[in-house]
Symmetry: C2
Subunit: 408 residues, 2 copies
Amino acid sequence: MYNAIVGQSGGPTAAINATLAGVITAAVESPNIGTLFGAQNGIEGILDNRMLDLGKMFEKDDGSIDLLKLTPAAALGSCRIKLPAIDDKEKSDVYRRIFDRLKENNIGYFFYIGGNDSMDTVDKLSALAEDYGAGYMRFIGVPKTIDNDICETDHTPGYGSAAKYIAATMQSILYDCAVYTVKSVTIVEIMGRDSGWLTCSAAVPRLNGMAPDYVYLPEVPFSTDKFVSDIKKAHKIHPNVVVAVSEGIRFADGRYVGESNQNGATDVFGHKYLAGAGKTLEMIVKNEIGCKVRSFDLSLPQRCASFALSQTDIDESFGVGRFAVEAAIDGESGVFITYVRHESPYRVTYKPIKIDKVANRVKQVPSDFINAEGNNVTDACIDYIVPLISGQPKIEYLNGIPAHYKIK
Amino acid sequence: MYNAIVGQSGGPTAAINATLAGVITAAVESPNIGTLFGAQNGIEGILDNRMLDLGKMFEKDDGSIDLLKLTPAAALGSCRIKLPAIDDKEKSDVYRRIFDRLKENNIGYFFYIGGNDSMDTVDKLSALAEDYGAGYMRFIGVPKTIDNDICETDHTPGYGSAAKYIAATMQSILYDCAVYTVKSVTIVEIMGRDSGWLTCSAAVPRLNGMAPDYVYLPEVPFSTDKFVSDIKKAHKIHPNVVVAVSEGIRFADGRYVGESNQNGATDVFGHKYLAGAGKTLEMIVKNEIGCKVRSFDLSLPQRCASFALSQTDIDESFGVGRFAVEAAIDGESGVFITYVRHESPYRVTYKPIKIDKVANRVKQVPSDFINAEGNNVTDACIDYIVPLISGQPKIEYLNGIPAHYKIK
């Protein structure tokens, strides 16, 4: 009987530990798996032999797994390592070391929870296993990204909680901005360098009666003139204009809007001042409209806030972790696990897909989710998002803030 | 029997509508009050005759009051009007118009929920009532400010929810930042121009096992050299240094740190680039230490987020609204209502205080809440904050985000 190892990699999300909890639960239950190791800081921990016995750590039924499910970021720690090309003979030493470690620890199952680079890692290890005398090892990727931009899956673990945080925050901002009668523009910048999925979620409050006036996505080329005319139009309806904008919006020529604005601007230390999309729009309003204007971005909390979790996201993220273990035992390898969506009632099932099918591809917001003017999302887009952000887990509080799990 | 009027003024908070709900509940119940009017946009609505019959609006027991209690911002709208000096004869017309409106509507009780300027309004109207033949009118101020910087009260309505949001967000950020092994500094800027109360709350996660390395408050003069040595010291303990900093930190000579950094820096439109405290600290780290560094501020959501409310804050904010009505009926005028704190178990009682006792004074964080080095808060400070952020109200959700009350 082989042992298993699980690692986490890439940027933290609010749901990646739910997936870890799913892997732990299934691996501990399974009669086919010996010890479940946790690699600290992903591949780094395998190379440095920093591995924990997760089975032992969670053997007691003391609520730790439930706490872990609702703990943000990556309990095992993360890394950002891109492995060399599999045919790069000069750099093959890293593969030799990884496979040595895996064999020393009698690993037969390798689970890697992460973003695109992590899927790339799974793909490469799976392709090389035979060469290193480890053809029996099974490598499974479990995607996580708040960006929701992975192809072949309806959505990604972590997106629902980030989208819920953004939708709820935007609703609060809309209420805040509505209190004054002074003409103003408030610009909220949201993560998503290559796709507008997170920014789309800012439109959800529309269903509850308050909505940002415009939603600008990277999928639509940005026009300064159109933006200025949009704002003027909205000011005819009400004084408090609110705009959601993706950090990744670009002009028709491909330049990022957020980078357009740095020529000459330097701070006292001589650093170039990189404004960002929101700040650039703020300056456009200042110059072209001249009313009160402010911009800010939702920054780190949108990916890691642990008090606006989606129950759906947590359940699915846990489920996909469990399924990954079952798939490995069933003989899958070199795959990642996708979500297949079913309607009425909404639910997902899990399906393994060969990783090479999605590598280096980005799923953008489709055109039927974007309105004809290109400055907002359609109701179909909101209908797609709402089930993913629905439900609130029961969070345990300690000293007024959520209680979390921490590996000692 | 006289009618009553209530208005909201100043910056929005997550709890100011709970106070409005308290005023409505008590006024509707009271046999001493006729109609309860709501002034839209505070004094603006009185001058423009935009008044709602709140008693009628909330007469049905349909859950609207409960929804209002948990709705952020100011349901009646707000304004930022500072009334002229009471002896400024040239500008006395505004007082004439206000008192005319109040008399036309047979107002005997005036409730104003707001910050310092709103308390100033109550003070002035109360002082002038006799002159305008309205000596029978009673004027009561109900404070609200997330800044917690009003004297004579243990804390202010709205502070608890903002502090809870900041503490929970900081905890999530700490978990997020801990996942990598790369040396880094993360700087989180928090509101509070004149006092560090909100920034103090970022230290609460210490009780749960994760804490920002340093907390820099406006109460302590900022030293760049000390800051650099602080960061170097923390890097000897762990790679991921996290710092909470108030927007209001200043150098010993009184200059704001956030404004120190604009000489020469302009954008393409020629605007001066005002960096803010966090960005300035980021640049210091870049120059003096050279590791990975990022800074961001918590911006609007810290004052208006409706999904991290403190039950204690909501209950007290509601209670202080109720008490204001009772105090007016008891004959109080020219006062605002303060919180008196009791321990074991923690609770507050309410006490009217003459407004002129607090005008133009700011309550800063006391020295026993700040450590000897001036770069963090003491346990006594955290003990002060925890009861204020405790308890989570049961929030009703609609389409994955909180349901709110909105005046049609």
